[in-house]
């Protein structure tokens, strides 16, 4: 699974892109976020308040209950501020 981090999620995790293989019980976006939190203090800090974290699966906005799999591109980012 390919993970992308943007804006302060990238700054806090210290990661822009990574390939991960979450354990088999990680089936949804919500599971993935919970698993990522335990990967280190940067991840814990970045994901402390999920109210301000948006997730896109294969470049589509996704809810916490959306399934994720090994071939997916999952992006984590703050609420957008373009325009």
């Amino acid at each position: 699974m390919k993970l992308l981090y943007f804006a302060w999620l990238r700054a806090k995790t210290g990661v822009a892109v990574e390939e991960v293989t979450p354990p088999g019980e990680v089936a949804t976006v919500g599971d993935l976020l919970a698993w990522l939190k335990g990967r280190g203090p940067g991840y814990a800090e970045a994901l402390a308040d999920l109210q301000v974290v948006r997730v896109a699966v294969n470049q589509e906005y996704a809810d916490p209950d959306q399934p994720v799999g090994p071939d997916d591109e999952v992006a984590l980012f703050p609420p957008v501020t373009g325009g």
Binding site: V80, T81, G83
Partner: protein, 156 residues
């Protein structure tokens, strides 16, 4: 048409090209967003626009398609810049051409409101206290909500 680019754009040239040869256009509504040097109470030196290549274009194309489904537009254009921008520089251009001004106006307002809440761009502002990520504003969500119903797949 949508474009995401680092380079500046020339509004006059873009608008002329947008309606060139189309005699059915009665009104052209345009929004140009610029970098301000005041955000809240702090002085901003410059800002850097980050985006999610691929998803950005996809969302902009979808937003534009939605506008064209809702209003009878003869032409539409969204240009959004990325990278480091100084105060006074252009960030975004949204333009909608229609036979009637109301459709052009509404579609243009819809595009900029939706773009601001759906297109994956983020602003990093350089201020006197260092660089700071701009927080999303509730007023932008409220502006976008005026155009409900939302797309079913927009989970924000």
């Amino acid at each position: 048409m949508i474009r995401v680019q680092r380079e500046d754009f020339d509004p006059g040239q873009e608008l002329a090209a947008l309606t060139a040869g189309n005699r059915k256009v009665g009104g052209l509504a345009v929004f140009v967003g610029l970098v301000r040097d005041l955000a809240g109470d702090e002085t901003v030196g410059a800002m850097t626009l980050e985006h999610y290549p691929g998803m950005t274009e996809k969302m902009l194309e979808r937003i534009e398609a939605e506008a064209r489904a809702r209003w009878p537009l003869e032409a539409s254009l969204v240009i959004h810049r990325t990278g480091r921008l100084e105060p006074g520089e252009r960030i975004v251009l949204v333009a909608c051409a229609s036979a009637h001004r109301q459709a052009a106006f509404e579609a243009c307002g819809f595009l900029i409101d939706w773009l601001k809440t759906k297109a994956p761009f983020w602003k990093l502002e350089e201020g006197p206290a260092g660089a700071k990520w701009v927080e999303a504003r509730e007023s932008d969500d409220a502006a976008a909500a005026r155009w409900a119903p939302e797309e079913p797949d927009a989970a924000e």
